[in-house]
Symmetry: C2
Subunit: 219 residues, 2 copies
């Protein structure tokens, strides 16, 4: 049986060592490389062709875990990325999943669960931490009693702006539409791009369409 090649990405060496030590005890898993930044992760993935990548989200540098995940998945759709983080909040779950992560685990996971997740990921299957899973189910069910929407991270106003971006509007048009100063619009857009880890309005528009925020009109 072929071993599952794993790439570890975490900015803390001690974490990598710990995980590596554990994984090496398993017969069917081998750690082929480590990276301590998003940029390195992309390069290493390129070079070492791992099957599965364990990606930490919290990392310094230009390319964070989410951006790195997106990058890698773009270049190599066959590689599966498991996101490992201590964030139990909502905010990073969806961006990570959208960036192409197959599983989203919390750092206090049991070792054997990690191994299980890696094996599943290699098969293209997902394992979500139960706490994470429940949040997702909640969202997908549309259980948003108050004002929570599927894009929890985005505020109502930002959502308004995003919709207009996705309609191809310019900042000036958006400002007029929402009765705002153009400055405000730019601020919102800046925040949207930051939150969604995108580079420009065009990507935001694409994102909106992919997510179905904008409904396709009759055609």
């Amino acid at each position: 049986m072929k071993k599952i090649k794993v790439l570890l990405v975490d900015d803390h060496k001690i974490v990598r060592q710990g995980v590596r030590a554990y994984l090496q005890t398993l017969a069917d898993i081998t750690v082929v490389a480590e990276a301590d930044s998003g940029t390195e992760a992309v390069i290493s993935a390129e070079k070492n062709r791992p099957h599965v990548i364990l990606m930490d989200l919290e990392m310094p540098g230009e390319l964070d875990g989410i951006a790195a995940t997106r990058q890698i998945r773009k270049n190599h759709p066959e590689m599966q990325v498991i996101v490992v983080t201590s964030h139990h909040q909502d905010e990073y779950i969806f961006p990570a999943v959208r960036a192409g992560a197959i599983s989203y685990l919390l750092k206090d996971i049991e070792p054997d669960e990690l191994a299980a997740a890696i094996r599943k990921a290699a098969q293209g299957e997902a394992i979500l931490d139960s706490r994470v899973a429940s949040r997702i189910v909640q969202e997908l069910q549309g259980i948003r009693k108050n004002e929570v929407n599927p894009f929890t991270q985005l505020s109502e106003r930002e959502f308004d702006v995003l919709r207009l971006i996705a309609a191809g509007k310019s900042n000036a048009e958006i400002a007029e539409s929402l009765v705002l100063g153009e400055s405000t619009v730019k601020t919102h857009i800046g925040n949207i791009l930051k939150k969604l880890h995108l580079d420009d309005r065009t990507q935001a528009a694409v994102y909106a369409w992919q997510q179905g925020i904008v409904r396709r009109t009759k055609n």
Copy 2:
């Protein structure tokens, strides 16, 4: 019975007069206004609230017939735009329809056909000149023997570029992707925007998604 209110848009006064004279002989149709430019058309539509707009495509000025059509349909989806033109070529059919025109007529149409088209349009139904209709059917059937695609006006290369725009790529990334100079990419994009009557890459991306040029990935 309420009369159908019509707005005439054509840069030639003589044409407007001719059409108006004819339409005024009809009991159920009334010309409520005329406009000689795209800009005027938008304003006049706003003010006079016509049911149907007869729009000439060939007009000078910043806002041509297609852009005006798009604008009006955006502001007032309930107004129906009939495009009247002497272009029997493909190039303007699809842009016009995409911009929201319900019917596409050629200028050598018989008067009673025009009247019929207006009445149909008021009901939200389309009438296409048979020559136009056959082109459309051809396209929809995918009868593209050689390299003709549903977006006849766009060349292969432009299509390549459009797809990348719709993926959220920057000019530099597109250039790298297609192994081109950035200058060339910009030229292509300029041509794409011109041909599709769009303002910027974001609108192009939106357009691409609306048209289904980009396939929605799994989500």
